[in-house]
């Protein structure tokens, strides 16, 4: 049995791109019918661009420009669908692979590059409006689910959700993986979210693997069912179907924003490449499995759907060109990234002056000066 056989799974597009909604998808079809051609094309362009970026970043890592790269290859539909479902006022808590989510919200992809190059520990300011309320990556698995829940609690306390005005109400969406779902933090986040009825969507991207460990080691029952145990309405969606991912996320976010409390989504997807550039998937998975999932590629699926609707050859070429331009731009700007001054290390450790740090910084300045001046 493939993990996609659950009768509760929401899927709109079959793997070959034909419109073939599962019974569970029926209630979502109006949301999909409401999408304009331009929106459908945007979904596609988002996915194509980020894949081009991802390939470029992987190459940059191979060339020694980055310490590490976690590819999002194969997970584009889950990310684009959910991110495009969020409203501008919503808050986003990514894990560390949500490259296209951050891009859609306005974060400069170079900020992720700088993180993976070892120039920063975060790289962007979530409170700067240009970053679309997007928080920085969190490498400690699952930790961000609690932060998202706390922010959601604050929205409840401040009356910023459930006012009846969808233009103003705010929600939170938090991303994590199948492996991370085993962390105590995620369970505690769900307890708090349910207790305080936070306007929050737990968005689990089940890409089937936590590095080398298959999802069966994390859970014997489908992961979306866990949400139910905490009293959180939960849905499983085909994460390689961008339309289904969009619709399920949109409804969940709308309900959460309107005061309905937390929602959980398990997006069934597949990490088509390595976990990171330090990983070797041939050690733990079969090429048959990889081939089967390659047949469910989210980009190919959406392309077939758009082609059948009559999208022009020109549109696809333009989308490819847009991706290539993004990748080029990132490569050029990566090569231009300078170093960081050593003072950076002592800055923003505390908000107010701290005697020990000041002393150490002074010591280092003197020491470096004495080295530059030559040994006496």
């Amino acid at each position: 049995m493939t993990p996609l056989d659950d009768p509760a799974l929401v899927r709109v597009l079959a793997a070959d791109g034909t419109l073939a909604p599962t019974p569970a998808a029926e209630r979502y079809l109006p949301l999909i019918d409401a999408l304009t051609d331009a929106e459908l094309e945007t979904f596609y362009r988002d996915m194509v661009s980020i894949r081009a970026f991802d390939v470029q970043a992987t190459n940059l890592q191979r060339q020694g420009q980055l310490a590490l790269w976690p590819p999002s290859f194969g997970q584009e539909a889950a990310q684009v669908g959910s991110a495009r479902a969020a409203r501008a006022q919503d808050h986003i808590f990514p894990s560390y692979r949500e490259h296209v989510v951050t891009r859609i919200r306005g974060v400069d992809p170079l900020d992720i590059i700088r993180l993976m190059r070892g120039l920063t520990h975060g790289g962007w300011d979530p409170t700067d409006p240009k970053n679309g309320n997007t928080h920085i990556y969190t490498l400690v698995l699952g930790a961000q689910t609690l932060h998202a829940t706390g922010l959601g609690m604050g929205l409840v306390f401040d009356g910023k959700c459930g006012t009846g005005d969808p233009e103003r109400d705010e929600a939170v969406i938090v991303y994590y993986g199948d492996g991370a779902s085993s962390q105590g933090d995620v369970h505690e986040a769900m307890v708090f979210a349910a207790s305080f009825q936070t306007p929050e969507v737990f968005f689990l991207q089940n890409n089937q693997w936590a590095i080398s460990v298959p999802v069966a080691t994390q859970s014997r029952s489908p992961l979306y069912k866990r949400g139910e145990g905490y009293g959180i309405p939960s849905t499983q969606v085909d994460g390689n179907d961008v339309l289904a991912s969009y619709a399920v996320s949109k409804l969940a976010l709308d309900e959460a924003r309107a005061g309905g409390g937390p929602r959980a989504i398990e997006a069934m997807t597949y990490r088509m490449g390595a976990h990171t550039t330090s990983d070797d998937p041939t050690k733990y998975r079969t090429s048959d499995e990889e081939k089967a999932w390659a047949g469910r590629d989210p980009i190919a699926r959406m392309r077939a759907f758009l082609e059948a609707r009559g999208a022009s050859r020109q549109f696809f070429d333009d989308a490819d060109a847009e991706g290539a331009a993004l990748a080029d731009d990132v490569r050029v700007r990566t090569n231009e990234l300078g170093s960081i001054p050593r003072a950076h290390m002592f800055e923003s450790v505390y908000s107010e002056a701290h005697a020990l740090i000041q002393e150490e910084q002074r010591w280092l300045d003197d020491y470096e000066a004495s080295m530059e001046g030559g040994a006496e």
Binding site: L68, M116, L119, L139, V140, S212, I340, R342, L356, I357
Partner: protein, 325 residues
């Protein structure tokens, strides 16, 4: 019989021997099975000992340590792998408030022969949470033993000694040195687990450190020698308890000590050692014990780690300061 092995392979051989000699030993951690761990220290062990002796755990550090406590209660000897230093903290509560105290709470009736292997320290240019030196958190906690090998022979023997220990052992592996080769004597254990060791003789200044820093101390000693200063180098090996004998003997001869560590200096192992040596060898000292350490800031982005981590020059600067007293 001896073999020339990198530290990671020496650990692998030591784990293998422990699995062979005691069928109550089991390994547990994230990705330690078919992948052999992200540093390949457990490579091939699941294949040979099966998935119930070498367990790929769910992705939950508190779960890994917490269940190991129960396994130890059931007579097993769990050897745990924490994937990276920065990911030990989700298990911190289980380690410090449970594992460390269980024997004491049972007045000795229940032992906790649990080993927690943690790749630690910098020098690998990694992203956040992958380069930390958390040793002081553990040495500060009574009930834990904390050790760190700096070479392949110690890696091979100390891991087996740690597994034999009836007490919980935090086993810190200097990840930057996993590929550093050394001669491993497969028959004769070199030293007891909790002994420190003089690894270079010298007469002017005593240099002390552990883990990856030992290599840097040896570099500094070689450079100092070319400038006419003779440094003695001591590998601490055991961080809790500390074996002060060789340190005090040495400082009584040299009159000077420099302690070097990657961890931040404030309330660190170096602080403790400096204080103790000053208390116990005050009249032998020609200069205060000096510490060289990481700065008291979060481990910086990789591009600054070269500035953050003590190198041979920073150690030599301290040597000069010591000699200037």
């Amino acid at each position: 019989m001896s073999e020339n092995l990198p530290i990671s392979r020496a650990l692998n051989a030591g784990l293998r021997r422990a699995l062979e000699t005691n069928d109550r030993v089991l390994l547990m951690g994230e990705d330690i099975g078919p992948l052999g761990g992200v540093f390949r220290v457990t490579e091939g062990l699941q294949k040979d000992f099966g998935p119930r002796r070498v367990i790929d755990s769910p992705l939950a550090e508190s779960g890994i340590v917490g269940t190991a406590i129960g396994l130890a209660m059931g007579g097993f000897r769990p050897v745990l792998e924490i994937q990276f230093d920065g990911f030990v903290f989700p298990a911190f509560d289980q380690i410090t408030s449970q594992l460390a105290k269980i024997t004491n709470r049972h007045e000795g009736a229940v032992r906790m022969p649990v080993v927690i292997r943690i790749p630690y320290g910098g020098h690998i240019g990694a992203v956040e949470h992958h380069q930390e030196s958390p040793e002081a958190y553990f040495t500060h906690t009574a009930g834990l033993r904390v050790v760190s090998p700096s070479n392949a022979n110690d890696a091979y023997w100390m891991i087996q000694q740690a597994i034999d220990s009836p007490d919980p052992v935090v086993f810190l592996e200097p990840k930057a040195k996993y590929w550093q080769k050394g001669e491993v004597d497969l028959e004769a254990p070199a030293l007891p687990l909790h002994a420190s060791r003089v690894i270079r003789r010298g007469t002017d200044v005593t240099l002390v450190g552990h883990g990856a820093m030992v290599t840097t101390l040896l570099q500094a000693a070689a450079l100092a020698e070319s400038e006419g200063t003779s440094c003695e180098v001591i590998d601490l090996r055991s961080l809790s308890p500390v074996d002060y004998g060789p340190l005090l003997d040495s400082v009584r001869r040299t009159g000077r000590m420099v302690y070097a560590q990657e961890a931040p200096g404030f309330t660190s192992l170096g602080s403790e050692i400096a204080a103790t040596v000053m208390e116990k060898a005050f009249f032998a000292l020609e200069a205060p014990v000096l510490r060289v350490s990481g700065f008291d800031v979060p481990f910086p982005p990789a591009k600054l780690e070269g500035t953050y981590l003590p190198d041979a020059d920073r150690i030599l600067e301290a040597v000069d300061r010591s000699l200037a007293y």
